[in-house]
Amino acid sequence: MIVVNREVPFQHRFYFTSVLGGMWITFKHLLGRKFTLRYPEARFKPPQGYRGIPALVKDQNGREKCVACFLCEFICPPRAITIRAGELPGNPIEKYPESFEINMLRCIYCGYCEEVCPEEAIFLQQAYEFAGGSRREMIFGKDKLYKLGGVRQDPILKWAHK
């Protein structure tokens, strides 16, 4: 093996020239574009079709659209959804969800529930940051899910005409 001892240039024999070079790069970044998103004040706005948290919606008449068909519970890959169905006697809908719970710590925001839902009752929202201090409070029940989902305009309203 041949070792070539190259002559080190004079300015590289001192640390401080290299340090100054580094500081110069830092200084140039100080003047350039600012990349940082100041998170709690400034928010990232998700694009259309973003898959955030899943939530239940009501139609413009205030009727809950879910009919407790259990398709989302079956399709859910991490089995985050738990539904208990109740009966509506004398009503053409017949079924409604007595309780509808989504375990947000299991949910992987995949959107299968939205895709499979025949009643268009569950939609992925734009909200993305959820954290809590216990596992119990991260299981969202009907009250929280309807509050997150809100109202979604339904042009057909098929149950209103039966």
Partner: protein, 168 residues
């Protein structure tokens, strides 16, 4: 010539008093060094949170401490298998008190979609968890929000309820 009373009021104007406890908590809250325990894709988002766009340094946690001896907070980011579990517990035990744990993402929080014999169904079976973050993986913002919850826990000893869109 100032009277004694005037001098005392001057001192009151110049100094601020507080409890030592509050100062210590303030210092702890603003320099939480994380122990990044990244085992899966959540770790990528954790790195993004440390990068220039989300910049975890704004919260005083820029020094990802790869030695548990110098860490205050463990971020469990990713799937924890049963084979990994003893190592995780050992790392937790090596961290000095006081210490906090964030379970980041579905796998660390509850096992997520890995309903299997090989996966720990939530790291709270091994270590005490302070904040659970939802998502698969959570966005860096969600991690920063979890960090803010930890800071609040350091300050007050409690964690606020889950976050909703309108900030409740």
């Amino acid at each position: 010539m100032q009277t004694e009373k005037e001098a005392a009021s001057l001192i009151e104007q110049a100094l601020m008093t507080t409890r030592l406890d509050a100062v210590v908590k303030w210092a702890r809250k603003n320099s939480l060094w994380p122990m990044p325990l990244g085992t899966a894709c959540c770790a990528i988002e954790m790195m993004a949170a440390a990068g220039p766009r989300y910049d975890i340094a704004r919260f005083g946690s820029e020094r990802l401490s790869f030695s548990p001896r110098q860490a205050d907070m463990m971020i469990v980011a990713g799937t924890v298998t049963k084979k990994m579990a003893p190592a995780l517990r050992m790392i937790y035990d090596q961290m000095p008190d006081p210490k906090w744990v964030i379970a980041m993402g579905a796998c660390a929080s509850s096992g997520g979609m890995f309903h299997t014999y090989a996966t720990v169904q939530g790291v709270d079976q091994i270590v005490p968890v302070d904040v659970y973050i939802s998502g698969c993986p959570p966005r860096p913002e969600a991690l920063l929000y979890g960090l803010m919850l930890i800071q609040e826990k350091v300050r007050t000893g409690k964690v606020r309820g889950p976050f909703t869109v309108d900030g409740e």
